[in-house]
Amino acid sequence: MIYRTLLTISPRRVGASLFFFLYLLAIPTMAQDCQEKLIGRLELSDGQEPVAFAHVLLRELNQKVLSDEQGTFEFTGVCLGKKYLLEVQYLNDLQTFEVRAETQPLVLKISLSNLLSEVLVAGKAGPHVHTEAACTVDQLDFDSRQSVSLGEIVRQLPGVNVLQTGANISKPVIQGLHSNRIVIVNNNLVLEGQQWGREHAPEIDPFSADKVTVVKGAMGVRYGVGAMAGAIVLEPAPLRTTPGWGGWATVGGFSNGRSSVGALALDYRSANEQWAFRIRGTGKKGGNLKAPDYWLYNTGQTELNFGLQAEWKPSATTTHELSLSRFGQQLGVLRASHLGNLQQIELAAQLDTPLNNINRFSWGLDRPYQGIQHYTASYKLNHRVNDHWKLLAQYGYQFNFRQEYDVVRKTGSAAERAQVSFRLWTNALDLWVEHRPGKYWQGEGGIQVIHFLNYVNRGAFIPNYQTWGASVWAQERWRKHGVPWEWEIGGRYDVRHSHVYTVGNTTRDLNQEVLFGSISGIGGVHYHINEAATLTLHTGYAWRPPSVYELFARGVHHGAGTYEEGDSTLVPEKAWNSNLSFSFRPVPESPWQLTATLYYNQIRDFIYLNPALTGKVTVRGTFPAYYYRQSDALLRGLDLQLQTPLWEGWGTEMRISLLRADRSTDGGRTPLPLMPANRFQYGLTWQRGEAWQVRGMANTVLEQKRVPIEGLIKAAPSGFTTFSMDASYRFERSNRTWELGLTAQNLGNLRYREYLNFFRFYADEPGFNLGVRVKCIF
C-alpha cells in the first residue's frame, strides 16, 4: 500500500517550487523498534533521472548523508511510525520535509525550476562542480542595496571593491582588477559596453537579478578574453512554475539624495504549463547627495529600465528562451571633477570643499552629466538529445549608447547636444554542448563567434573600430561518490581581429588592422576533508588583447582630467592566476561558516597608464600626461569571511580583504596605482526564524600606503571606520509575502574619503543615509 503525502514547502528562494510524492521503505518490524533503516531515493519528476550528490540531513538523529550517483541515500536507527524532519540541500536550495516513517518505499521526486535544469543532463543529474572561488552575495546585503547599484551590492564581499567617480558611478573591482579584466554576465549574456572608461559604470539594473555571485580567478575558459580576474554573474529569479499570475513589487527610498525607487515584475505561466514570461520595470529618481558638511551639487540621477523574459517548452526535451531589456540612466557629475588642466586640479585638490560647488539641494541634472542607454536581446535554445548529450545555442544582441554632456556656452550649437558619444553594437553567437561521457565525468564545450562595431563622434579621443572574434572551448569535471577528490580541467582558444579607423575626426589618419590570438586554460582540484570542510585549488592561464583605447587613444580624457596616449605596439597581457580556498560549514545553514581564499596572480605585460614627467600643453592648458605602458605585475592577497554564533539568535560576522600589488620597473618593484587598501568588516547579526534579520557592521579601511609617488596630485586619504546597519522583516498576509527593510549607511555621519573614488580630490564621501523599502510578493 502506498502512502502519499503532499508536503508544505517553505522555499528559501522565491520562485522555486518543489513537488514531492512520498513513498516510504522500511524493513517491517515491531512498532516501537528503532533499528530500521530509512532508505530513500531522490528523482526528477519529469523522467526518472536520479539526483546525485545532494545532501540529505535527518534532523532528529543529526545524520547527514550524500546521495550517490543513483540518487540513493540511507539513514540508520529510525523508528517506524515516527515523524522525522528531512532537509535536502541541492545546489543552493534547501528544502525541509516532514516525513513519517512507514513501511513503504521512500522516493522523493523533485521537479526542478528552469534555472537549475541548466546544469543537468538527463540521465545522471548532478550539481555543477566548480573549483573556482565563488561567493554569492547574501540575501540581506542584496536586498538592502538592490536599489542602489551593482557596485554597492558586490563590494560587501571580501576581495571585492569599487572604483568610483562619485557615489553614483561604481565599477566593481575583483582582487584589485577591473574594467576589461573582469566580465559581468547577466542571464548568461556577457555585458559589452565602454567598460575601459574609469567613469563608465556597468549598465545593469540589479532588479533584473535575484542572485549575484562573484567568481574570482581566471574565468577565461568560460567567458572569454575579458575575464582574466573573474566574473560577476547575475541570475534572474526562475520563471513561475505554477499556472497563473504572480510577481513582486518593491518601493523604496533613501534620505541622502532624497531618492525613490519603484520596481515591478509580473510573472505568468500558461495553463498547459508550456510557456511562461516575466515583464519587469524599474524607475529611479534622486537629487543631490550630501556630504557631512555640504551638498554635492549636480550628483542626482534618473533611471528607467524595462525587461522581458519568456520561455517556451513545447516538449520535455526542448526549451526556448527569449530575453529583452532596456537600461536607461542619466547621471549627474560633480562640477568640480570636470575642471580641466593641471593647475586647476591642483588648486581644487588643496581646498577642503569642492571648487565651483553650489551648496544646496536640487533635482535637476545640469551639465556635466552622462546619458546611458543599453539594450539587450537574446535567444537561447536548449535541446536534450539523449541521456548523455544536450545541445545549446544562444544569440545575443547588445546596443550600448553612451553620451557625455559637458559644460558649454549656452548659445551656439553645442548647448543642445552631447559633446562626446559612443555607440557600440555587439552580436554574439554561442553554440555548445553539455555531456556526461561516463559515470564520473561531466563536461561542456563549444564555440563562439562575436562581432563588435564601435562608432565614436568627432572630439572623442578613441577611434572607430570593427572587431571580429572566434573562440573554441571545452571543460571537463570528474567526480566519484566515495572519493574525496574532484578534478576539473578546461581549455580555450580565442582570436580577435580589429579594424581601427578614424572618420574625419581630426587630421589623424588612422586605418589599421590588429590581430591577436591565444590559448587559455584552467585546472582545479577539490578535496573534501570531511563532511564539513573542503579545500580547493584553482589555477588558470588567461590572456587579454590590448583594447582599442590602449592602442590608439590620443587626447584629453575630460572625464579623468588627463591627457592619455596609447601605444600601438602593445602586446596582449598574460596572467597566471591561482587561488587556494578553504571552506568550512558543519551542516547546511549552520551558524558557523568560514571561507578563506589565498590568491596569487602573476600578469606578464600588464598594461597601465604611466605618468610622464612633463605635462601635455593643449588649448585648455597643461594636463598631466599619461602614456600606456606595459610591464610585469604581481597581485596577491587574502579574502576571508567568518560567521560565528554567540547566543540565541545572535552571531558575529567578519570579512577581511588584504591585497598587495606591485609592478616591475627599471628600479625594481613599485606599487601598482589605484589598488584597494586593506579592509576589515566586522559586526553583529541577529535573527529570529525566517522573519527577522538585523545586521550591524563596522567597516574599517586602512590608509593605502602602497602608492606610486610619481603622478600623485594628492596623497591617499587616511584610514577610516564607518558604521552601517541593515534590517529586514518578512511576514505573510492574505496569501502574500511582505518584506520590510531598513538600511542605514555612515551612521556616524563621518567625513572621509576613499582612495578609489576619483572625487577624493574634491569632496568627501556622502554622509548619513537612511533607506527604507517595502516589497510585496504576490
Binding site: Q419, N457, G621
Partner: protein, 180 residues
C-alpha cells in the same frame, strides 16, 4: 489569454521601436567644443598686427604660436581677441557668443615680466564686471622679454580675483613676448 498576448505584443514593439529608432540615428548629433585658433589683433599708435595661436589639426595641441614682437616704450595699444573653431567649414567665430554671454566669461592676461609689458582689460560684461576680450597694452623696456598667458574662464565664481576666478578653463594659451 488574448489580452496577455496584446500586452506582450505592445511591449515588444515598444522596446524594439525605441532601440531601432536610436540605433538608426547614423548622423552625428554631438557637438564638441573646439577652440582651435586665437587671434590677437593689435592696433593703435603705429601698430596694426595680428598674432595667432593655432591648432591646425584639431587635436588640441598647438601647431603654431606667434611670438609677440612689440616696440618698446609704446602706450595705448588696443588689443582685440578673436576666438575661432576652424575644425568647422566654414570657420566659426566664437567671439560674439562669448561676448553675448559675457557674464559667464572672463579673459585674463598674465604677464611674466612686468618690466616689458603691462596689460589692462578694457571691456566689461552686462553687470559691469570685467570681460577682457578687449584690452589696452603698454610696452616698457626693450629686452624685458617673457611670456603672456591668456586664460578664458567659463562661469567664473569670482571675477574680481583674476588669478583664481573659479569656473572652468575654456582655453589657456601662452605667447612668447619680445620687446624691441
Amino acid at each position: 489569454m488574448k489580452s496577455v498576448q496584446k500586452v506582450v505584443a505592445i511591449f515588444f514593439s515598444g522596446l524594439f521601436a525605441t532601440a531601432f529608432f536610436t540605433a538608426c540615428h547614423k548622423h552625428d548629433h554631438t557637438a564638441a567644443e573646439n577652440i582651435t585658433a586665437i587671434e590677437l589683433h593689435l592696433t593703435g599708435n603705429g601698430i596694426d598686427q595680428v598674432f595667432t595661436w593655432e591648432d591646425t589639426d584639431g587635436d588640441g595641441v598647438a601647431n603654431n604660436i606667434d611670438t609677440l614682437v612689440l616696440p618698446a616704450m609704446t602706450q595705448g595699444i588696443e588689443c582685440s581677441v578673436l576666438i575661432f573653431d576652424r575644425t568647422e567649414i566654414p570657420e566659426v567665430d566664437i567671439t560674439p557668443e562669448i561676448v553675448a554671454e559675457g557674464v559667464d566669461h572672463l579673459l585674463t592676461y598674465d604677464v611674466s615680466n612686468a618690466n616689458g609689458l603691462v596689460v589692462t582689460t578694457l571691456n566689461q560684461d552686462a553687470n559691469g564686471n570685467p570681460l577682457g576680450t578687449t584690452s589696452i597694452w603698454e610696452t616698457r623696456n626693450a629686452g624685458a622679454d617673457g611670456v603672456l598667458t591668456l586664460t578664458l574662464y567659463h562661469e567664473p565664481t569670482n571675477k574680481s580675483n583674476p588669478s583664481n576666478p573659479g569656473g572652468e578653463v575654456d582655453f589657456q594659451v601662452v605667447f612668447p613676448v619680445k620687446i624691441q
